[in-house]
Amino acid sequence: MNKAIVTSLGAAVFASLFSFTARAQDTKGSAKAGEAKVWICVGCHAINDYRADWPQVYRVPKLGGQNADYIAASLKAYKSGERKHPTMRAIAGSLTDQDMADLAAYYSAQTPTSPRNPLK
């Protein structure tokens, strides 16, 4: 009986690990798909030294070459309100998890020699 419990517990743990992996894979980003979605970002983030004026004047961050998971996590944090910023909350609020993953994949893939986005 103990053995049966251990076996079923083991199976449950295995299943939960597997479903977690499956879920993580569901929102795998595509840099190619992101290429078409950056229109919402480029008005600020594609301009050298572009400055935001809320809540103080500062240059908006460079996104090219940044970690994909960090970009996606930041967008999620804006959407949830964990990060507060009126513009970024509005934009992130309009994005799905898939959009975020695609944008993250796109920006993380950028290097100094990347070709100019043909769609922008």
Binding site: A46, N48, K62, P86, Q110
Partner: protein
């Protein structure tokens, strides 16, 4: 005329340095606080994918971001990341500016791209 030129020079110098933090002081604080424990070697190789590369990021953005973790109870400004909130608590705004200046001065992979 010489006097007005002098005033102009002083003015523009003060505007130019209005933001600039002290890089050497910032380096000291960044190393002492071990920012590299999470943000990685050269602050551009984070130990977890969900952490950002920060080397070479804009100085004024870094300061804005660091300061955001200190803001509490404002509905429009602030960041709630528990790790970063506990990190920045100990620093003055001047410290944060110095750290931002140092981090921005390190060469990194970050670029502006369409």
């Amino acid at each position: 005329m010489t006097k007005s030129a002098l005033i102009l020079t002083l003015l523009s110098a003060s505007i130019g340095s209005a933001f600039a933090g002290n890089v050497a002081k910032g380096k000291e604080l960044v190393e002492k606080n071990n920012c590299a424990a999470c943000h990685g070697a050269g602050l551009k190789a984070p130990v977890a994918a969900a952490y950002p590369k920060i080397a070479g990021q804009y100085e004024d953005y870094l300061y804005y971001a660091l300061k955001s973790y200190k803001v509490d109870g404002n509905s429009l400004v602030g960041r709630n990341n528990a790790i970063m909130q506990s990190q920045v608590k100990q620093f003055s705004d001047k410290d944060l500016k110095d750290m931002a200046a140092y981090i921005a001065s390190i060469p990194g992979d970050l670029i502006v791209k369409k």
